[in-house]
């Protein structure tokens, strides 16, 4: 396995930073675009990228906060992006499109690419699945998929409900039952909308876990629930990314 920081072409033709982790060898394999959480392109997110490379996938994680603060520490860039109002949906789609193109251009690519995101990246993963050519999407506790941000919130995120009929790939959802955003009621509503539209989805919902329970560097980490969820993610990737 090798990992390095590279430059890819994102939205509007902008050159942005990305973290790439790849297994050794030249066998064909699936790809994964990893969308980092709102705290940014940080050490933990890079650990997750390497984890999936160890599992056998070419992984690419664009730095969604690169434009606001090139070269800054991840937490400083996240703060600057937050103060600027967050990552616009159109820009996110352009950056992920660039990441997809890069992954499919690798000589090891089997053409299949999935997307996975945590927190704000969970919502963005669903957004990608409704708009871009991906073979599978994983939403890890993304908020504001079926509801808008409340008016007092300055970082605006709008419901994706009107886009869900366009969901073009299987969706795996991972949620904590102690989370408030998304709450169990939000997850119920998302499932209801997906059912109504005949979409292929699979949800796993965990007691004793709240928001951010995959994050090993935070108090919210729940080892048992996270490991079980990783097993489901592994099976999902075998299904949608298989050689």
């Amino acid at each position: 396995m090798s990992a390095s920081t590279i430059t890819i072409t994102g939205a509007n033709g902008d050159e942005i930073q990305a973290y790439r982790a790849r297994p050794d060898g030249d066998q064909r394999r699936g790809g994964l675009v990893l969308i980092h959480h709102m705290p940014g392109y940080d050490r933990w997110s890079k650990e997750v990228a390497r984890r999936f490379a160890v599992d056998g996938f070419d992984v690419l994680m664009p730095n969604l906060h690169y434009r606001e603060a090139p070269g800054a520490d991840a937490d400083d860039a996240a703060a600057a992006t937050r103060a600027a109002g967050g990552v616009p949906d159109e820009r996110l789609l352009g950056d992920v499109a660039g990441a997809l193109e890069h992954l499919r251009s690798l000589p090891t690519s089997n053409g299949n690419v999935a997307v996975l995101g945590h927190c704000s990246g969970g919502r963005q993963s669903v957004l990608v699945a409704c708009n871009l050519d991906v073979q599978g999407a994983v939403d890890c506790y993304g908020a504001f998929v079926v509801n808008d941000t409340p008016p007092q919130m300055d970082v605006r995120m709008t419901s994706l409900e009107d886009q869900l009929p366009n969901l073009r790939c299987p969706l795996l959802g991972i949620f904590g039952n102690e989370d408030s955003y998304p709450s169990p009621e939000h997850v119920d509503l998302l499932a209801k909308i997906l059912d109504a539209n005949g979409k292929d989805y699979e949800f796993h919902r965990y007691d004793g876990a709240g928001h951010g329970f995959f994050a090993t560097d935070r108090p919210a980490y729940r080892q048992q629930q996270a490991e079980d969820a990783y097993r489901h993610i592994g099976r999902f990737f075998e299904r949608v990314l298989g050689a």
């Binding site: 709102m38 705290p39 940080d42 606001e68 603060a69 070269g71 800054a72 520490d73 937490d75 400083d76 860039a77 703060a79 600057a80 937050r82 103060a83 967050g86 927190c119 704000s120 908020a143 941000t149 007092q152 919130m153 300055d154 970082v155 995120m157 989370d179 408030s180 955003y181 709240g210 928001h211 951010g212 935070r218 108090p219 919210a220």
Partner: protein, 85 residues
């Protein structure tokens, strides 16, 4: 949860960051997941000068943020008004 709520204050003063002292003009205040503090949520303040990535950051539990507000109020209340310019 990620709250996404952000308050801004125009400020005048200075702060000491990783490259030394610099003039401040903005405080960004939000209650959300911390980067370093061992709590699920904290009251976070980024003191900055408008340059992206340049800030003095603190992450305080809600109780300690209220303690800080009270301490600031006590400190300002204890000096003669003509010094508060």
């Amino acid at each position: 949860m990620c709250t996404y709520t952000t308050e801004f204050a125009e400020i005048t003063g200075s702060g000491k960051g990783k490259d030394g002292w610099f003039a401040l003009n903005t405080a960004t205040v939000y209650y959300d997941h911390p980067v370093h503090a061992q709590a699920a949520h904290t009251l976070n303040i980024d003191f900055g000068d408008g340059r992206p990535g340049n800030r003095v950051a603190v992450e305080l539990t809600a109780a300690s943020a209220r303690e800080l507000m009270a301490a600031i109020d006590r400190a300002l209340s204890s000096v003669p008004a003509d010094l508060l310019t």
